[in-house]
């Protein structure tokens, strides 16, 4: 099924990172930061252990076939990379990494602290031959400190980082804090790792020197909890989780409202301003559901705007208004409420499942948010729709190509970049440095 023709990374021009070479030694914590660099034009060489990266075992899989080249989790986090399948626990494997690092711009790695230095591949070793090298280590807890050697996964990072404490239910007795699914502990870590890396690349342009960045998922998550820390640091109080809305030290009105199609919208800032309020009540009255909301006292609340509402202590009227609005919303579809309310300048949103954006004309058509990425290894003309660019630049385009097959570029990198001969490659295979099942 999978053809043996190697994908030559397409020629891409003008990407912001187009002349940057990245050596990636990352698993689930860091692979996303390398993808973000690759999609903006960097050449990313992903080093995978023989047999392929363990993330290739994570589902879902294309056609539910758990083949290492068919993990959709892997695809989503590994576009725009080349794969070099290499045993780095051998001296020849280490030599290859050192030779690549000698001319590379960036090393991204997320091994446990001390592992790469134990192989002679720490920043000290690699920067000795290349003072412009930027190396970012993205660990669970950091390179030092009492938790340095502790083990972590995405859910551990989100728990220790305080994010789970803020997410969950206040109206489901006994329910646990919730880990938002989607590998966000790893993504928050990757975003910070990438920011440090880019800052170092910029700095190098002026200083002529690279640097070492020691970043951790633990600190990254801990610094991404909004009100939780400031509220404690200045008021000495702990926020608590509330269903589908912000953490707070006091109960707040519920924002999730069910619609006639069984979906939900989030509804807030009801009394945002008088104009929006009057238009909303008119909309409700047109379908005979405004009840008593045309009364003057509600207009007064809307005149006060959101600041007036915050100052109010008696919430009887606003609670009642919310209940009437909730009944109206329950009689309409989520799409109608979302679009209708946005047209009246309410910042309400439909609670969508991710795939539902494929049918949203603003994102899917006007903004071309989804990218068809060719998978010619599956056959002539085959492509799949991926989520596309998270930003759009006028001068330096985002441009992604499909993730690599296991070891797809091992031979081309070794022979073209490092000038290994056919005979050298055979020796590497025989000695278990590279796989004998190369594409």
């Amino acid at each position: 099924m999978i053809s043996q023709t190697q994908q030559t990374p397409p020629e891409r021009t003008g990407g912001a990172l187009e002349d940057i070479t990245v050596i990636e030694l990352c698993g689930a914590r860091g692979h996303f930061m390398a993808k973000l660099m690759g999609d903006m034009g960097a050449r990313v060489i992903k080093i995978e252990p023989l047999g392929g990266a363990p993330e290739r075992q994570i589902g879902p899989f294309m056609d539910d076939d758990p083949h290492p080249d068919r993990s959709l989790f892997f695809w989503a986090h590994n576009t725009s990379k080349e794969s070099l399948e290499l045993n780095i626990e051998t001296s020849e494997g280490q030599k290859i990494i050192k030779r690549l690092a000698a001319t590379a711009d960036v090393i991204l790695e997320d091994f446990e602290p001390g592992y790469l230095p134990s192989l002679g591949l720490g920043y000290k070793n690699l920067s000795a031959e290349n003072e412009k090298l930027v190396m970012t280590s993205l660990t669970a807890f950091g390179q030092d400190g009492p938790y340095r050697d502790y083990k972590s996964t995405d859910i551990v990072a989100l728990a220790m980082g305080g994010i789970m404490h803020s997410c969950g239910y206040d109206d489901l007795p006994g329910s646990p804090p919730i880990r938002p699914s989607g590998d966000h502990g790893n993504k928050i870590a990757s975003h910070y790792g990438l920011m440090g890396t880019l800052a170092a690349i910029f700095n190098r342009h002026f200083s002529g020197r690279g640097q070492y960045i020691d970043a951790s998922a633990h600190e990254a998550c801990n610094s991404t909890t909004e009100h939780a820390l400031p509220t404690y640091l200045y008021e000495g109080e702990n926020v608590f989780r509330q269903t589908g809305r912000h953490h707070s030290t006091t109960p707040t009105p519920k924002t999730l409202c069910k619609t006639s199609d069984g979906k939900y919208v989030i509804v807030f800032q009801l009394f945002n301003n008088l104009h929006s309020w009057l238009s909303l009540v008119k909309w409700m009255a047109d379908v005979g559901m405004a009840e008593d909301l045309q009364e003057e006292r509600y207009k007064d609340m809307a005149r006060g705007g959101s600041r007036g509402m915050r100052a109010a202590t008696d919430t009887t009227d606003s609670d009642h208004a919310f209940e009437v609005v909730r009944r109206f919303i329950a009689s309409q579809t989520s799409e109608d409420i979302y679009r209708g309310a946005q047209n009246l300048k309410f910042p309400w949103g439909q609670v969508r499942s991710p795939e539902e954006n494929l049918n949203d004309p603003h994102f899917a058509e006007d903004r071309q948010m989804f990218a068809n990425i060719p998978h010619s290894e599956m056959g002539e003309g085959v492509s799949f729709k991926y989520v596309g660019r998270p930003y759009r630049f006028t001068e330096s385009p985002w441009d992604a190509f499909r993730p690599p097959l296991v070891g797809e570029h091992t031979k081309s990198i070794l022979s073209v970049d490092l000038e290994y001969s056919e005979q050298d490659l055979k020796t590497l295979e025989v000695n278990g440095i590279i796989s004998s099942n190369q594409n």
């Binding site: 070492y212 909890t225 640091l233 702990n238 589908g244 807030f268 603003h362």
Partner: protein
């Protein structure tokens, strides 16, 4: 931008000047990191139109615009300039500042700068190398460009709210504006990419960010499951709660602990960790049952498995579970509360996670630090969040060559 000759630089982005029109959370999160990396971030407000996070939960209930905890953490390392851009002289001064700056950031809705006559084409006429980052809800093009978002709106639309929760229940969603913070990160990432591009080519550009799209870009796996396998995320068994159907590993969940609403998490990823877990909980007889003999069978029987594990965790505090299991080499964590993170976590203390600096109205500002160490350009908390207009005089006189006499007039006429 000046190009220092010396190798010693005060920060990675030293020499970069940012005009910051951003408000609330998303934009200030973006410029906070630029400031943390050493950029000169000039936050522009005025008495009539100030960042309304300045009014968020002010310490001591005061009406001062300088006492909001959240403002304090989002705006450290920035300077504050009061400037009324609606006044012709104010606009002139702004254009002068644009000539001397590298980046403009704003998170207004999508037409505001155009209405000011300051869209990207105009900015470019003033400074051809300017990098303009607009952070709106839906982007600057497309049929819904006038729709508006707050963080929760972007989370709901992109799919992130729906992906968080217990199966069969309402969405738990995110307990804060995750997409304000993450949207801010993408602004920072994009601006630094554009700066790197400009170092090479000399050209500036417009970065059009949409907060919803940034959220969509985080849902890649689920979208592929639909486009490749036609399997929607909206289905009976989803969202997965705290379990890991994608990885097919168990135990992987939250577990109740001793104390009021206290929880821990455990994630066993391989056989070695399972063996260590069984030892650490005292080799109970249930652990030897056939149905828990392999990862596959544990995953298939995680309901009873989780119940057995909870019988053990409920007798321990979250940090006891954390210490016992991590000591045995098992990935585990406490669901930490704010007080634990701020006062107790020895790792965060070791890493100097909470930083302090004197603050004129609050006595001292206490903020979370940037979560990384950089060997050549270490982070410094140079200044606390600025008082409203704190740096106006120095910016007007030193940077914009306004005379002290004119400065007095600017204040008098409500321009400064």
């Amino acid at each position: 931008m000046s190009e220092p000759q010396t190798l010693m630089r005060k920060g990675a982005l030293e020499g970069v000047r940012v005009i910051d029109f951003s408000w609330i959370v998303a934009g200030p999160q973006c410029t906070r990191i630029l400031g943390d990396f050493g950029a000169d971030v000039i936050k522009i407000e005025n008495d009539a139109n100030m960042d309304y996070i300045r009014a968020s939960r002010p310490v001591g209930g005061s009406s001062s615009p300088n006492r909001s905890p959240l403002f304090t953490t989002l705006n450290r390392n920035k300077r504050s300039l009061t400037l009324n851009v609606m006044h012709p002289r104010g606009m002139e001064l702004l254009k002068d500042l644009i000539k001397k700056s590298d980046v403009i950031v704003e998170n207004f809705s999508s037409r505001v700068l155009e209405k000011w006559g300051l869209g990207y084409e105009e900015q470019k006429k003033i400074n051809p190398k300017i990098i303009y980052c607009s952070m709106s809800g839906f982007g600057h093009t497309g049929r819904d460009r006038d729709f508006v978002t707050w963080g929760p709106t972007a989370q709901a639309l992109s799919g992130l709210t729906f992906m968080s929760g217990l199966p069969g229940e309402e969405s738990a969603g995110w307990g804060f504006s995750y997409m304000d913070h993450t949207g801010g990160f993408y602004g920072t990432i994009a601006i630094m990419m554009a700066l790197i591009h400009r170092n090479k080519t000399g050209e500036g550009q417009h970065i059009d960010l949409s907060q919803v799209e940034t959220g969509i870009a985080l849902t890649g796996t689920s979208v592929l499951d639909y486009t490749v396998n036609s399997r929607p995320f909206r289905r009976d068994e989803m969202p997965p709660g705290n379990r890991a159907p994608d990885r097919q590993i168990a135990p992987h969940n939250s577990y109740p602990c001793k104390g009021d609403d206290r929880w821990c998490v455990i994630a066993v990823t391989n056989e070695d960790e399972w063996d260590s877990l069984v030892d650490a909980v005292g080799n109970p007889s249930w652990a030897g049952e056939d149905r828990f003999a392999s990862m596959e069978s544990r995953f298939a029987n995680q309901e009873p498995l989780d119940a057995f594990i909870a019988e053990w965790t409920i007798n321990h505090s979250p940090h006891e579970v954390f210490d016992i299991l991590q000591g045995a080499g098992v990935p585990a964590g406490a669901v930490q509360t704010p007080v634990e993170r701020a006062e107790k976590d020895p790792q965060l203390k070791h890493r100097d996670f909470i930083a302090e600096i004197p603050h004129e109205e609050l006595g001292k500002a206490r903020v979370e630090s940037i979560p990384m160490r950089m060997s050549e350009t270490p982070w410094k908390l140079e200044r606390p969040s600025p008082l409203l207009g704190e740096h106006s005089a120095e910016i007007y006189t030193e940077l914009l060559d306004v005379t002290p006499e004119e400065l007095a007039t600017l204040y008098e006429e409500g321009i400064a």
